[in-house]
Symmetry: C2
Subunit: 406 residues, 2 copies
Amino acid sequence: MNIEFINGGVTAPKGFLASGVHCGIRKNKTKKDLALIFCETECDVAAVYTQNLVYGAPITVTRNNIADGKARAVICNSGIANTCNADGVEKAEMMCELAAKELNIKPTDFVVASTGVIGQPIDIEPIKKGMPQLVKELSADGSDSAAQAIMTTDTVKKEFAVEFTLGGKKCKIGAISKGSGMIHPNMATMLGFITTDANISSNMLKKALLEAVKDSFNMLSVDGDTSTNDTVAVLASGLCENERIESENEDYFIFLSALNSICEKLVKLMAKDGEGATKLVECQVSGAKTVEIAKTCAKAVICSSLVKAAMFGADANWGRILCALGYSGADIDVNKVDVSFKSKGGEIAVCKNGAGIEFSEEIAKYVLVEDEIFIIVSLNDGEATATAYGCDLTYDYVKINGDYRT
Amino acid sequence: MNIEFINGGVTAPKGFLASGVHCGIRKNKTKKDLALIFCETECDVAAVYTQNLVYGAPITVTRNNIADGKARAVICNSGIANTCNADGVEKAEMMCELAAKELNIKPTDFVVASTGVIGQPIDIEPIKKGMPQLVKELSADGSDSAAQAIMTTDTVKKEFAVEFTLGGKKCKIGAISKGSGMIHPNMATMLGFITTDANISSNMLKKALLEAVKDSFNMLSVDGDTSTNDTVAVLASGLCENERIESENEDYFIFLSALNSICEKLVKLMAKDGEGATKLVECQVSGAKTVEIAKTCAKAVICSSLVKAAMFGADANWGRILCALGYSGADIDVNKVDVSFKSKGGEIAVCKNGAGIEFSEEIAKYVLVEDEIFIIVSLNDGEATATAYGCDLTYDYVKINGDYRT
């Protein structure tokens, strides 16, 4: 199985065009705020959403629109979340109608999404005004613009594409995503839009997506806050002409591997670009009795404010890792736990059988000043493993969120 | 029922002496690091401890020591937690033995506690050397010194006392506590030492303590990290000569009210002095179907990094409150939720029936710049209420925890 990362994003797979413009939802004219992804043909579609009881109106509309497993386009704005507004559903439907009219397709052909401030009404006028330009700019090079238009506090664009082979046919998956704060996904996360030219039924697409998010988006946390607007949608044009995937056959697992690869890349980039973050922190747990236990442990470590602050300070304060494992609720034997830190700078063991061991603070510092840190936890209690993705906690996280709305 | 706050702390009740010295566990010679509370007579005792699977060796020793419901003294150091060390229990027992010898009582008469860095071995030498001075300084004015000696990143001393009447007899409860970071109590929290001259059996004392921590210590969070060393212990000398409390009679409930009052004061002061905090944030939830739902909601709001950062910035970003309620897991109807902010500066409603309402940002700012903020959440779904205590998230939290050990 050969999965190769290539240039490009959502327009890499056959049949997809994209665009992004500044329409005026945001005051800053240099920041694009409206994105469109369009497929020349009807697609199979699947999506997963936030489990937050408070969820954005666009999610209600998208659920209805793709109930038949079919879609052709994604319309998304940034700046306003369209959540906790009395007229939210109406406005989300309007977004679909305006785009549908311009593209001459049906309003129900759309995945619709919004991201930004919760509870402020969304103004439909700029979207109406900007729509002709947005459609006019649709192009095979438009993934970059779309990726930029969905960004909020993100500092880097998230865009990837992979190429692989299904039954002799070259296939591609492309993706863009956004997410930096209010990130602690549960089932799905943030905004992620994935396209593919693989031919795969919406049922199998849903199955693959659920599988892929389990170990990627759902193992990511920036700040423990599960967003109201999390959506990951995948559209499959079928234009690469592989034999249609309708069961868990060999091609399904190749497709799933490719999807996993791209989701993992997105998630690592999102963790590293977490609000205010200076580094990616990955917690790799092994030796757990069950995968569930491994996941619970890995997430507890990644979510601990104290661990995150220590990582910011390049401080090998491993006691905080033990502390987080201890309150995680996972069934572990704390007297068997080993901990070490790893990075490009090297690897250093700091805890053995639940107790501290002597180590060089100097070497630990050398390991921890790097910008990608692995916290290696061995539970020595079984065979299961899991990895969670997070970032450090910095002054800038506080700065960004101390006054986000102004 | 008349419960009056008076001056003093753990030495306010009859029979108790206290002291605090710098013995050398900490390098900074101006910071006391060893505390002693001593009672001239045998006390009934009760304690609650952290639920973290990783817990300090002193907890193991204290559990054994007070299994008979009796104790006479508290010995506590700050600087090192004596947790995750191979010889922790041995060292904690040594602390008791050294103090017992000097006081001519039994080693098992002690509640022993430690607070500070996890995983570094504790050096018994300074404790041995400092013990004679610690005992020599025991006095009825020593509560202040003891309160200072148990502080770690705390910036203010936590010390309170109340006076009330049991069957015509004047009784007192006094307390000191420490706690600033790694605070998200579960069953008990941080270190809190409470003394009383009420005559009450250890069984009823335990009952009252469990009841009191439920709505105070267990409703507090600074950073979501449940500490490994949380202990709250209460010692009752019986010297006020009230009729011994052995059942849930009228006197029990008076005692419980007094205990509740003092715990609430400690918790508010701990929240306000949370690491880096500039303000106390209280979330008052009403109209819940059950108390459990009200508590879950109140704690979710208090624990949200995004809500905390918004409070730091005096930003009325109420969408983050709805978001936290939505992911709390509590069974609520999000379309019935009302939210307002209150402080000495006034009160302002920002959300009605789960949707934003127009409000003056200027007035909201005026309300939120105060240093004690109430987030008022009405679920309009029942009669139950709960309050949780927390603080804002600031640059200084990151600074303090970015390199705590150096």
